[in-house]
Amino acid sequence: MYQISIEDSDEVFDCAADRNVLKAMEKLGRSGIPIGCRGGGCGVCRVQVLGKGQYHTGKMSREQVPADDEKKGICLACKLIPESNLRLKVLGKWQKHFSDNRVSENQKLGT
């Protein structure tokens, strides 16, 4: 079991050595990394491994993680398997979509 911590937040959670970081976070009901397709395709859960963390990754969309980024420790949390404790910086951002303004308006209406 390894400890995953999220930079610039108080989030720390455990992740088994055979489980991806995003799934570990979800299973524990924790947050900090945005959740997208969970299949290495959409790029929403892009993170950067900081420091000297050891890890390996499954196949990820090259469009979301170009080779140069991968060398800098950038990967998708849904394909990130820890081999040591990891410190992660969250990079994934929501795509701007046509309803950005209305997300907040509508959420107000819904609550």
């Binding site: 997208g36 397709c37 969970r38 299949g39 395709g41 929403v44 196949k59 990820m60 795509q95």
Partner: protein, 307 residues
């Protein structure tokens, strides 16, 4: 037969990160039937209720998403007619030779303002549904997973979506069945039919061109949608949202992701479109209800996650 021109969505060709994983998912879980494989390694599949020999083509690539969507036209001469009209409209048009997709006739391929590639074809080899056409049984035994009947439609995201909407209406003769307006009163999303389904394709405005929101497969009942959801939990398939109902098209639905992150839908229960209906309009302030009728609020995952 009163259909003319474009008859129906015929195939979607999508990219997957790992072919073996994708084939297992689409065959064992979704319940499509693998019908062929070509020299390039592309895999061809169909729903049990489809008669032509494929409706989904998988290609292994380093990024998921959609390569192209194909529509079947009623007759061979439609290809020439549409090719001329598409060129006149200003699209780049290319003829793909018969057999380039296995057992498929010549295709007229064209680009679109939203950055998607589409194609038209008239011929595809008949494979049948295993039931025959003489005193058939209602369904075949031995189906797997969600047992989807057929490929139904795609929702595509792209810049200048309205340009593609106009192309489908003006050149290909699709009807606008439903529209979502943005606060400026412009079309932000359009649902289009070439048949009497509530939608055969949907297109939504998005900053990046050429994106796939989902590929949809049809089921017949709400019970089947619920059963599909059970299969997702049995096999730890990533669920996006549902089972629930759409305001738009009234469909009963669940969204989930294939192992490469391409979104899929299984749904049932939309209405019948006839050309004497008027399009339905959804105002921006009701968008939450339009998309998910019970939640009534916008879902960032659903709106923002694409491949």
């Amino acid at each position: 037969m009163s259909f003319t021109g474009v008859m129906r969505p015929g195939h979607a060709a999508i990219r997957v990160l790992d072919m073996a994983e994708a084939v297992e998912y689409y065959v064992e879980r979704v319940g499509l039937i693998k019908t062929d494989e070509d020299k390039q390694g592309r895999v061809y599949l169909k729903g049990w209720d489809e008669l032509d020999c494929f409706s989904l083509v998988l290609r292994e690539a380093d990024s998921p998403g959609i390569d192209f969507m194909g529509f079947k036209v009623c007759k061979e001469s439609d290809l020439d007619d549409f090719e001329a009209k598409l060129k006149e409209y200003g699209q780049n048009v290319e003829r793909m030779p018969a057999g380039e997709l296995i057992k498929c006739g010549e295709r007229v391929r064209f680009d679109s303002p939203s950055g998607h590639t589409f194609e038209l074809y008239a011929e595809k080899e008949y494979l049948g549904d295993g039931l025959g056409r003489l005193n058939p049984n209602p369904w075949p035994e031995g189906l797997k997973g969600m047992q989807v009947h057929r490929f139904d439609h795609c929702l595509l995201y792209g810049s200048n979506a309205i340009g593609t909407v106009n192309l489908f209406r003006d050149v290909l003769g699709f009807d606008l069945t439903e529209q979502v307006l943005n606060p400026e009163g412009e079309i932000a999303a359009a649902f289009l039919s070439c048949s009497n389904k509530a939608h055969d394709i949907a297109i939504l405005e998005h900053p990046e061109p050429g994106k796939l929101h989902h590929v949809s497969f049809m089921l017949m009942t709400w019970e089947e949608v619920l059963r599909a959801a059970d299969i997702m939990s049995m096999h730890d398939i990533a669920i996006d949202i549902g089972p629930t109902r759409h305001g738009i098209t009234r469909g009963q639905t669940i969204y989930f992701f294939d192992p490469s992150g391409n979104r899929n839908e299984v749904f049932c229960g939309d209405y019948t479109w006839y050309p004497d209906r008027e399009p339905i309009t959804w105002q921006p302030e009701e968008l939450g209800k339009a998309i998910f009728y019970h939640d009534r609020k916008l879902n960032e995952n659903f709106l923002g996650v694409v491949t």
